[in-house]
Subunit: 253 residues, 2 copies
């Protein structure tokens, strides 16, 4: 992808670490990095986005799988990668998303390539286009009038992510072409089932801390009761400690 603005000067800030959980060698970025190795990092294993919205790439030169990176902590690779059978543990280049502007975001999606067929103008997030009335399983082309958007392969903001920006390609994304289907996993299509506008860090003050609420008389002491009666067999035990037994106890009432 051609990079329209490789050295933006806006208020962007991102810190990367070569170990998980924000450990090891670290480097700060305030503008695009085409190859992390040229910035002294062999790999990125965790990162913190402190300002702005960014996009990370699987390969150098802004190529390969894309990952939207909004303000927050990303302690391991699965915190930034999508939900796919093909897991991407590498993050080799990154850049700010200069056009991210949630309040003004607008995109028009078209049923077919070249801006033909049913069309729909959107200014809000849609976790499932089909649920909101889009008559097709696919989007053929898109016109980003303002802001920047993330499109997702599957409903609920899952699967591969594609960043669409008003200041790249003139905001015009005219064609969808996959490689020959015989080479692709079946999960490659449809290209988009969900879209959402990227919100930059808005520099909001933290919410006004209200006075502490009075003690609630109906609260009872916390007791850790597994809510799932199922017990794993020996073969399952190692995996289950990472999921069911933990998360069924996530919120207990």
């Amino acid at each position: 992808m051609a990079l329209t603005n490789p050295m933006p000067m806006g208020p962007w800030k991102l810190t990367v670490y070569d170990q998980e959980n924000f450990q090891g060698k670290r480097t700060k970025f305030t503008s695009a990095c085409q190859n992390i190795m040229e910035c002294g990092m062999d790999n990125i294993r965790s990162l913190k986005v402190e300002c702005g919205a960014w996009v990370g790439y699987e390969h150098s030169s802004f190529c390969g799988q894309q990952f939207i990176l909004e303000r927050g902590d990303y302690p391991r690779w699965e915190s930034w990668s999508g939900s796919n059978a093909y897991h991407i543990e590498r993050l080799m280049s990154l850049r700010p998303i200069c056009s991210a502007n949630h309040k003004e975001s607008k995109i028009t999606v078209f049923e077919r390539e070249n801006f033909i067929g049913h069309q729909w103008e959107m200014t809000d997030d849609y976790p499932s286009l089909q649920a909101m009335g889009w008559p097709s399983n696919e989007i053929g082309s898109m016109q980003v009038q303002s802001g920047a958007w993330v499109c997702y392969q599957y409903p609920g903001y899952r699967g591969y992510q594609y960043i669409m920006e008003c200041d790249h390609h003139g905001g015009e994304y005219k064609h969808y072409r996959g490689l020959p289907r015989s080479n692709l996993p079946s999960s490659v299509s449809p290209p988009s089932s969900a879209v959402r506008a990227i919100r930059p860090t808005p520099f909001l003050p933290p919410p006004h801390p209200p006075p502490l609420p009075p003690p609630l008389p109906h609260l009872h002491p916390f007791i850790l009761i597994p809510s799932c009666p199922a017990r794993p067999g020996p073969a399952q035990a190692e995996r289950l400690v990472n999921s069911a037994d933990v998360y069924s106890a996530f919120f207990i009432d």
Copy 2:
């Protein structure tokens, strides 16, 4: 989890298949299923949500990892599972989310357990709580006043998913407790970095099809030009066909 309403009568419809890509044996559901094996399915490999919003579970009896399932097609397990190092290919029970009501959804999040500390009332989706001004890395407790919500472990609607409903637990989610950290992957905390309201199928008519736009004179014929000059070595070739080479050609201008 205790199931408040195991046999809702609303307009919910979901079809599951025992093979990927909507192949093989299939079964339709219009209400909760506690164990798919009791409904004649050995496993679920793909599914279509045709009406309503649903939640799927890794284990029977509504236990284990949760997966929000909104209207749309889910051709493979990675289309419904979250983005985690621990991959869940099983979906053993499912139920409609009866309280999903995006227009009326309201949740209050609290910094600490038992509804103490900073609090924030939300009626909209937040892909990154930190970006929107939440002063902490964690949410200690939540009160769902109306509707149903999905909370995510990581910013950008990634990581483990937790469904929060106004009609479960009286909408009160008072405590977060993980198991001892030594048994857990580091990715288990913080518990929530993003939240969004669940939107049920609204039965909207499809968007009004406008007349076809006039041909755009500046469009040029489509040519597939790989946008990434990098060429993978032999060891990378098999993986790359699933990602970079495909997706850098996703939209060509």
